[in-house]
Subunit: 140 residues, 2 copies
DNA sequence: CCTTTATTGCAAGTCTCTTGCAAGTAACAT
DNA sequence: ATGTTACTTGCAAGAGACTTGCAATAAAGG
């Protein structure tokens, strides 16, 4: 179970499992869209969890360090979003430019391309980001 | 020539060609990496062009409105970059995670994928962003 | 239960980008 | 050329996301 896996990661790096970290984790676990820090903060307030926005930022950064959360910087959003990586595979997103809805695209067309790019540019390719924008079914 | 094309666009929207807009345009024209507002500001200072950072922001926004400049939000950079679209075709970038160097990738593998995504998600797909990161030849 | 040390909340700070407004200037008509 | 008008600029201030300093709090382990 997730909390156990993450406790191990925390301990291995001299960190502790706390009430606030559990709350952020449990929220990320049951949410199916990537969340911004302020959205995490607002949702936890609603859930009657006492937490400061600063702690949300520190928590997502810890989870990112542990490799358990992905940080997304979507085009023109001006804020990062975070989603659990644990148990989900590499994928990308499409976002509605009207209502902001974000949907997973469970695909990645870039494996082959990486080789081509390494040949052409002499870079060693590490990561990539890919995002689509458009109009969702409700906003067309 | 570029300045003429852009003068027309400005006039058509009730705007004027000014000393500062010429300076920003000419810098973007001769630069082959996308530039941030503060980089534009710093380079123009070096070129002895009197301009305020606020004016740089306003200028790139005007050029973006006219469709003459693309705004890039690269992963984890925390600032936007701008590059001329005029005369260059749709492409993507790879950035060195050590030195920050940005190189054009003169390709886009996403035409086909768009149809597939529209079928799967029922979105109408508009735009996309794609960026690679890695280590450039000097930083490996 | 006690000690140690990581974590938290609050305040303040940083950074990018935007906005209000008076002064400056490009565009156009006289 | 000169004047009129309205767009543009610079400066100051503000907004928003995110970070940092520090004293108080609370995990973890004995
Ligand atoms: Mn996702
Ligand atoms: Mn480019
Ligand atoms: Zn991918
Ligand atoms: Zn493309």
């Amino acid at each position: 179970m997730l909390e156990k896996i993450i406790s191990q990661g925390l301990k291995a790096t001299g960190r502790r499992m706390t009430r606030t970290r559990k709350a952020v984790l449990s929220l990320l676990e049951r949410t199916h869209e990537p969340l911004s820090a302020s959205e995490i903060f607002a949702q936890l307030q609603e859930d009657q969890v006492a937490i400061d926005l600063v702690t949300v930022y520190r928590t997502v950064n810890v989870l990112k360090d542990l490799g358990l959360v992905a940080q997304l910087d979507l085009h023109h959003e001006g804020q990062s979003r975070y989603e659990l990586k644990e148990g989900r595979k590499h994928h990308h997103h499409i976002r509605c430019q009207v209502c902001g809805k974000i949907v997973d695209l469970l695909l990645c067309p870039l494996k082959k391309l990486t080789k081509l790019i390494e040949e052409r540019t002499k870079f060693v390719v590490g990561d990539h980001t890919l995002e689509f924008t458009g109009f969702c079914p409700q906003c067309q």
